[in-house]
């Protein structure tokens, strides 16, 4: 059915965002500034990959082509991915990795809060579960943004630069396309403009406390969630993430 197909596409966006950001955070293993922080970021990664399994597992059922969550994660190539560009970017320095997690967690917090009311009850249940986890992610990343912004001259400079670099990737999250509109009309997904208001309030409050300046609105990058034009980074992520499953298809044990 056409409606199932649209919902499948929409679930890919949710699942791919969680999967790719989770993978990026897992790269912090062995690279975080302190052991406690490493534990924190890989725990967040674990939550995100768990959420990705729920979204992609459901997507596979709707598609009805026999693809499960693993097939969707490991056997799709770049052009079939539907994640936003912001989750593909390399971690960069710690301020950049934390800044990205903060901006996305604030988005997910608003999104999952709204999706609890979705007409799709299974999606609503996944959102209800995920919201609890994302609340902790948002708090953790937000505390870091404040500490770095309101920290030393160097940490402030780096945190501000991270925001400036990330900002042009935030527009895509809130710019609805035909699929977002169709999902909204069907009562499945929320109005992205409404989410933006909550996101603005939450982000602004943290930036103010962090003595950081909100970057000016300018040109916004797009092309990730509709698969039109991913960044060059996604191919490298998939090459690493999918290696085992490509080299040893259907491997069951090692």
């Amino acid at each position: 059915m056409a409606e199932d197909r649209a919902r499948f596409e929409y679930l890919l966006r949710l699942g791919d965002n969680s999967l790719i950001l989770g993978h990026r955070l897992s790269e912090m293993l062995g690279n975080a500034p302190a052991l406690e922080e490493e534990m924190a970021l890989v725990n967040v990664a674990l939550d995100l990959i768990g959420q990705a399994r729920l979204f992609l597992g459901y997507a596979g059922e709707l598609e009805g082509a026999g693809r499960d969550e693993d097939a969707l994660a490991y056997r799709r190539d770049v052009l079939d991915y539907r994640c936003a560009l912001i989750v593909e970017l390399p971690n960069g320095d710690f301020a950049h990795a934390i800044g990205r997690l903060f901006l996305i967690s604030a988005f997910d917090f608003e999104l999952y809060g709204a999706l609890r009311e979705s007409a799709d009850r299974r999606l609503a249940a996944i959102a209800e579960k995920s919201l609890k986890e994302v609340t902790y992610h948002l708090r953790h990343a937000g505390e870091w943004v404040i500490r770095l912004g309101d920290g030393t001259e160097e940490s402030h400079r780096r945190m501000q630069k991270a925001l400036e670099d990330l900002w042009m990737y935030t527009g895509e999250l809130f710019t609805p396309d035909a699929l977002d509109e169709a999902m909204r009309e069907a009562g499945i997904a929320p109005d992205l403009a409404r989410l933006r208001e909550g996101w603005d309030r939450r982000v602004d409050a943290v930036l103010r406390e962090a003595t950081l300046t909100r970057p000016a609105e300018g040109w916004m990058q797009s092309g990730g969630k509709d698969g039109r034009m991913h960044t060059e980074h996604l191919g490298y992520i998939l090459a690493e993430m999918q290696f085992l499953q490509r080299a040893y298809p259907d491997a069951r044990a090692w």
Partner: protein
């Protein structure tokens, strides 16, 4: 399907199932069982009379979920229910409020501070709750790290007895 039963059921058949489930330890926190944690939501019977155990994951990415399912299957097999089925339910989402009194006592005995009651949603932003030290009961404690050895725990330190301890976070 039959109406769901809980751990206090008087029905002897279900009682045996719940007893078997109460033997299944949490793989990551083996001091408590999956019934203590409220992971088992209910047990019902399907059309053919076989038991269906409804469980809910604590965290979406909890790596113990699969192992818990295997352990449930093994425990019910030993108890004489080889055809039991397991269903995962996501809503209502698991909350630490479902940890039983017994579970909270066992956590404390294992040196893990149980979730502070009533500190769920409101405390997610702003100052956290005062967490009593599981060893000396002092509330003069501080959070060292938001995330501990597992997704469900945070790392704390007692300023009174100077011991570090884990806190089972509210969810």
């Amino acid at each position: 399907m039959s109406p769901g039963t809980g751990p206090e059921t008087a029905d002897p058949r279900y009682h045996r199932i719940w007893q078997a489930l109460a033997e299944v330890e949490d793989p990551e926190i083996p001091y408590v069982t999956i019934v203590d944690l409220g992971i088992v939501r209910e047990v019902v019977a399907d059309e053919t009379g076989d038991p269906v155990v409804r469980i809910t994951p604590t965290y979406s990415g909890c790596p113990a979920t699969r192992l818990i399912e295997l352990q449930i299957r093994a425990a019910l097999d030993r108890a004489g229910f080889p055809h039991a089925r397991i269903e995962t339910v996501l809503s209502p989402a698991w909350t630490t409020d479902w940890i039983s009194e017994e579970g909270r006592r066992k956590l404390r005995e294992a040196g893990i501070a149980p979730p502070v009651p009533g500190s769920g949603r409101a405390a997610l932003f702003g100052a956290g709750p005062a967490v009593p030290c599981p060893r000396c009961e002092s509330t003069d404690t501080e959070r060292i790290a938001e995330f501990g050895s597992t997704a469900c725990k945070a790392l704390y330190r007692c300023r009174h007895c100077r011991e570090p301890f884990e806190y089972f976070k509210c969810l």
